[in-house]
């Protein structure tokens, strides 16, 4: 269970570049729920994920994960409960290390790392079995450096790494945005499979209306650091991509209206 209580984050406060990325945002996600997040550029959706992961501390409000108040926990400490896949396929893996070594790093997420060998004999067998699930033929290339793999293969592996130990929360940050459509589809299929198989609680930011509409059991739309639309259950299943696009269009028109209105007010009163 993830609970965000009125969290706020402003970047570059007091400067001309001030951005209010999150504005008193509250959200609670039940265990086993798969939530997709959409929003306009700069709406704060990636900031939301980063706030939960601990990339920065929020200015106000609190973050609770599984009953623990993690608001002031550094990122590496929260990682014991959170699995993460980044937008950039280069972010989630260590390129000069082998597939096997990367996975063994993931297998100790949030656990003490001692002087035991990273690649024990029994471990390699377990590895092969679990990598085979991806159906990419990677199980025969475990000794290869990750840097030699394609973006899609890397993202699939990052996903496997993030979920190797069952996380209390899986964060997916536009993890197919940098991939070609075919590998993107593949990674989405694997994501769905793993989330369903392990009954994971997941928060997935996406730029694709069709992904947002078809995946998960709850949909959130963000705008200017706030949640402006939140549907779940039967209502969520009825959502169509076209509908979401229409809402975006509406937002854009509202935005323009805002600007002209502001201009008008300026002209009148200043």
């Amino acid at each position: 269970m993830l609970e965000l209580r009125r969290i706020s984050k402003t970047f570059n406060p007091g400067t001309i570049n001030e951005v209010r990325s999150l504005q008193e945002l509250s959200l609670s996600i039940e265990d086993g729920s798969f939530v997709t997040v959409i929003g306009t550029n700069g709406s704060g959706k990636s900031t939301l994920l980063n706030a939960v992961a601990g990339g920065f501390f929020v200015d106000a409000g609190s973050i609770h994960l599984g009953g623990r108040d993690v608001t002031r926990w550094p990122e590496h400490r929260r990682a014991a409960f959170i699995g993460r896949v980044f937008q950039n396929p280069f972010s989630g893996t260590a390129p000069t290390m082998s597939i096997a070594e990367n996975l063994s790093l993931a297998a100790r997420r949030g656990r003490p790392r001692g002087f035991g060998p990273a690649l024990g004999a029994g471990w390699m067998r377990e590895l092969q079995e679990r990598v085979r699930v991806l159906n990419m033929g990677l199980e025969s290339r475990l000794a290869n450096a990750i840097g030699t793999l394609s973006g899609g293969e890397r993202q699939a592996l990052t996903l496997l790494m993030a979920t190797w130990l069952r996380p209390e929360l899986l964060l997916l940050d536009e993890h197919t945005a940098a991939l070609d459509p075919k590998s993107g589809d593949k990674v989405i299929r694997v994501s769905e499979e793993i989330i369903a198989r392990d009954k994971l609680t997941a928060l997935m930011v996406t730029h694709s209306m069709s992904q947002a509409a078809t995946l998960g059991d709850r949909l959130i739309m963000m705008h200017r650091g706030r949640i402006i639309y939140d549907v779940r259950g039967a209502e969520k299943r009825r959502v169509r991509p076209a509908e979401l696009l229409a809402r975006f269009e509406e937002l854009r028109r509202g935005e323009q209206l805002d600007e002209t209105a502001a201009d008008m007010l300026k002209r009148t009163y200043i």
Partner: protein, 312 residues
């Protein structure tokens, strides 16, 4: 022959320094100039302890921990106080100059009458039945003392290299490598990147200090100036090693670094014998490292240009 044995021994001793530089420079991509202070610190600590009659093994171990403390301090300055990496190293290196003078009490400590690790090597040779002053090896007269020290140093360096290779294959060691490779990823896997970097720099400078301790015992003195230029020396060894064996695997890189250090020392000894002015040594080393750093980019640019020229 004495010259060759001497060059091999110093090359092997400095390969411990090179392994330390390999950790900071290649694994963490951190040009750690602390090394120039910590090699002297290692020599100073070991020499001072040896003069007061401490067991050489204990003195060398103490040097390791002194160097580790210096490296950890650089790591803390860099990660906790967010000081630029190079500057953190410069601060600690500068401070160490005074520390080293305090440790030694003067600028140079001779070890002529002290028991050193060299004596152990000599004793071991005598136990093995080599009681003569010298023996004939392939037609050359070789001092038993020099040879036994070379063999002893070789054994110690082989053990160090092996231990390092094992370490970087443990859970902790792989996490350390990943910290240098992709900090964002390893943080998301629950590793405290700052702590890992501090630990890595501590190990690196511990090794550098051991190299200083061994060097002081071999050459018979510790000197406050002995660290100057050592970072670039270590870089040269690492780069030569990569040219010799490639960078395909960690084990190869470690062996290559040791080989690079030995080869570089041999080349230098030969150049000096052929009349190279010792004053030019650091200039040449710096130019060499410069060349090795820019050559790959220059070569790839040339390669990229060639087809266009052919078309035109």
């Amino acid at each position: 022959m004495t010259l060759v044995i001497g060059a091999l021994t110093i090359g092997l001793i400095l390969s411990v320094l090179a392994l330390g530089i390999y950790i900071s420079f290649r694994i963490f991509d951190f040009p750690d100039i602390t090394a120039e202070g910590s090699i002297t610190l290692g020599a100073a600590v070991a020499a001072t302890l040896l003069v007061s009659g401490v067991n050489p093994f204990v003195a060398t171990t103490a040097a390791f921990f002194a160097g580790s403390a210096a490296g950890a301090l650089t790591g803390v300055l860099h990660t906790k106080f967010k000081i630029n990496g190079l500057l953190s190293g410069i601060l600690v290196m500068t401070a160490l100059y005074s520390v080293n003078l305090h440790v030694m009490g003067k600028s140079n400590v001779p070890l002529l009458s002290s028991l050193t690790l060299g004596n152990y090597a000599e004793n071991a040779a005598q136990l093995l039945g080599m009681t003569d002053e010298s023996l004939r090896l392939g037609g050359w007269e070789v001092s038993v003392r020099d040879l036994s020290i070379l063999v002893g140093v070789f054994g110690a360096i082989a053990a160090t290299a092996f231990a390092l290779d094992r370490f970087f294959r443990t859970h902790l060691g792989t996490a350390m490598r990943a910290t240098g490779d992709n900090p964002q990823m390893i943080r998301a896997l629950g590793v405290d990147v700052s702590a890992m970097m501090i630990l890595g720099l501590a190990v690196a400078n511990g090794l550098v200090a051991v190299s200083g301790a061994l060097l002081a015992q071999y050459q018979g003195f510790a000197d406050v100036q002995m660290g100057i230029g050592m970072l670039v020396w270590g870089l040269a060894s690492v780069i030569i090693g990569e040219a010799l064996v490639g960078v395909r695997s960690l084990g190869l890189a470690i062996v290559g670094t040791v080989m690079g250090s030995v080869l570089f020392r041999l080349l230098v000894a030969m150049a000096l014998r052929w009349g190279l002015d010792p004053n030019d040594l650091k200039l040449i080393t710096a130019v060499f490292v410069f060349g090795a750093l820019v050559l790959p980019t220059v070569l790839s640019k040339l390669r990229a240009r060639t087809p266009q020229v052919a078309h035109a």
